[in-house]
Symmetry: C2
Subunit: 458 residues, 2 copies
């Protein structure tokens, strides 16, 4: 193992220069004018994977941008890890806010700045170098490796599910590892083991059949904005709990171990409130902020509209009012079931004075890879060795749809081993990757490959 | 009196032809290209007033369109009535929906169709002919008459208050009569004796200082749309009463006589609900629909907005949410006081989790000319004789700002003696005036001039 760590240390500068080449290709998947760059970037990754010693390297064309596949399967009888990442990047506008050119990786302080450094070329590259380290030093790896790199992550992974379905056999593995997220904070290595799901609804209310004059008609009919406000206000009780019957039925309660793990994370409600610009936080009573953000379901109004919204004073009693309301779900809530409970409840509480329509616009399932599962435990052991620090456990409040697809289509759990930082400007100007995390990430992945066979028994 | 009524009968056709001339001038005050037509129409009215025998007839130029003034003051020792009307009209778009040309008065069935027939040339013309009837037959009137006809009613009477202030002495009178509204229904002569006022507010809430991702942040802060919904929902109690402390303090209660008078009006809640397209009406418990519309204050949401309002599902936790909320006021509520009560209450109930701004955008006072006041009683006596039917009492839910200006600047009560009908298309294609109301209106005004000295003692 020391040989491997020495190899990483000796080749630091070369690695940086190679990453700069990878970064320099403007593989912006959403811009039609960058279509050739995206293909060029897939070719670069494919060539690089061949150079570092991956054996079966292929480019799969899709209806959109290509998927790069690579495999090394020389560890007979050992587990197989499927590494997922993406080589496409976000647009760079507003380009004038970048302190150095977005596709010229530039080191300032402890960070390397450029589009794609954190999201996700830099993190993909960490895996490239961990693999290279084994293959150049020992000619072999302690685990079998499969890798898929997609070129459409930033445009919604539109062609990935089809690829997964058509290549189930090829993608057979024991665990998925994704490095496309962030650590909890700088100097706080952490492992993310849970994601929330989503159930996104729209409510449309119609009161009188046309807009009315609020003077001539005010006092005779139920204003649909008022009716909508009354419905929305009733969806939380005074303890911040959601009032939809059955809503919490399938919620997996937080374990004592999880609650203790979250308490170990460096956190200040006061600092957080100040950063968001609010005087007081709000949420479900009986839970800490991190528990509410990660492990408790929520209901948010994403938008509301109705009546006159211009400048000045128009005395309209509107015919219609609408709201977009979404719920973040936690294991083991199911998006379709929650949509039904929501619709039933809204229709039940809507007054007879208005007509109500409820629509389900979008949904996604929550995901969890329990903290005592073998994959998570292997990652924790690797992180501790890679960063010389006991890693902490976290979840994420948002959703990562591909994690759900991996579970659904391939039947595999995902370990989210992120080396970014929360303030890395992933979709903004001056995106960066911290260099300590870049090198610590390589050490971690080298250790991960070494640890995995101890945890994942074949 | 019979001579006068005979005169009206004999000259019916001539009157119609004269009205057609008045109508034919397209005095659309809002269109700059009709500016000369508006002046031409003022000239026509001025000439006509001279022809029928008014003595002091003048045109006052304003910064906008001119005001026509006319006077006959030969009834020494008798009261003076100030008649207000307007000779400007609404635009005619969409012109293709008119069944006959908008400026060619055309009789179909019992109605005369053209722009301005009801609003307000036809009703102004009723007064012209009542005056003519006296002066041509007797050479005198039983009351002194002053008349102001403005050319900017359809653009907000912008220059009228200045004219009133500058001509207080000239406009000295005992009562104002305005014929620019509708009877309760066809065949139901009625007198409108009260109008509601207005207090129009805007609430702006700010939660987090910028829009947040509802996945990453949902569960930690108070969503400003939710907070706004909670505020709005709390503004009415379960009986439909407004919960702002002090809101009802200055409300003049309905008298037994008024409530009985409203009950005599032909009205069906069921028919009204069907016309508006609602299954059930809504409002303050303990009052009939007409009472709620006319004599009870209300609070309506005129508009609401916040967050994502486009197509689809954007998972935003918005920074801001706003609402426009207006209150219709009844005598003796004061708009400025209600604005203060509203602001104080909203600031008190707004949670600490959001920042709230409350602004007063617009206001106007309610007005009432009590049903047992001399002017109203004279009008009732005249209406009964003019239409051979006991007239009924009504109020209006909306506001007529000039009525408030008349009271404020000239210190005079206004009697609203409308001869239109509720479905007269005043601001739409195919505006009409019912011919029974046209002739009944003339008889009524002839009787009104005769009755006024009995009621208004000098």
């Amino acid at each position: 193992m020391q040989d491997l760590l020495n190899y990483l240390e000796i080749n630091k500068n070369r690695f940086l220069n190679e990453l700069k080449e990878f970064i320099a290709i403007p593989s912006i998947s959403t811009n039609p004018e960058n279509k050739e760059d995206v293909q060029k970037c897939a070719n670069w990754a494919s060539d690089h994977l061949k150079n570092i010693g991956m054996t079966d390297v292929r480019i799969f064309q899709t209806e959109g941008h290509p998927i790069v596949y690579a495999e090394w399967s020389g560890a007979k009888g050992k587990p197989t890890v499927l590494i997922y990442g993406h080589y496409d990047v976000q647009p760079v506008d507003p380009v004038e806010l970048w302190e150095s050119p977005p596709f010229e990786a530039t080191i300032r302080g402890d960070n390397i700045y450029a589009r794609g450094t954190a999201d996700d070329k830099g993190q993909v590259f960490i895996h490239f170098k961990a693999i290279e380290t084994y293959l150049k030093n020992y000619g072999s790896l302690p685990v079998n490796i499969k890798m898929i790199l997609e070129g459409e992550e930033e445009v919604g992974s539109v062609n990935l599910p089809k690829f997964l379905k058509e290549n189930k056999e090829l993608l057979k593995a024991d665990l998925i590892v994704v490095s496309d997220s962030s650590m909890f904070a700088k100097g706080v290595p952490s492992i993310c083991y849970g994601l929330r799901g989503l159930c996104y609804m729209q409510i449309d209310l119609v009161g009188p059949k046309s807009d009315l004059h609020s003077g001539s008609f005010g006092g005779s009919v139920h204003n649909p904005i008022q009716a909508l406000a009354e419905i929305i206000a009733s969806l939380h009780d005074k303890n911040g709990k959601i009032t939809i019957p059955g809503f919490y039925d399938d919620v997996l309660p937080l374990t004592k171990k999880e609650r203790e793990a979250f308490k170990k994370l460096p956190w200040s409600d006061k600092k957080y409130a100040k950063e968001l610009g609010v005087r007081e936080l709000y949420g479900e009573k009986g839970y800490t902020t991190l528990e509410r953000l990660w492990a408790r379901p929520t209901l948010e109004c994403n938008g509301i509209w109705g009546g006159f919204t211009g400048e000045g004073a128009k005395t309209v009693l509107p015919s219609k009012a609408s709201a977009k309301i979404s719920m973040r779900l936690v294991p083991h809530q199911k998006s379709a079931k929650i949509a039904k409970l929501f619709e039933r409840h809204i229709k039940k509480i809507a007054p007879k004075t208005v007509q109500v329509t409820v629509r389900n616009l979008h949904g996604g399932e929550p995901a969890i890879t329990p903290i005592d599962s073998p994959g998570v435990q292997a990652a924790v052991a690797a992180l501790e060795k890679g960063f010389n620090k006991k890693p902490l456990y976290q979840r994420e409040g948002g959703s990562i749809p591909i994690v759900v697809e991996f579970k659904k289509i391939l039947g595999l759990d995902t370990v989210l081993l992120g080396f970014g930082l929360p303030d890395e400007n992933a979709h903004a100007p001056n995106e960066f990757l911290n260099l300590d995390n870049f090198y610590g990430g390589m050490r971690t992945v080298v250790h991960l490959f070494n640890e995995l066979p101890n945890y994942l028994k074949k």
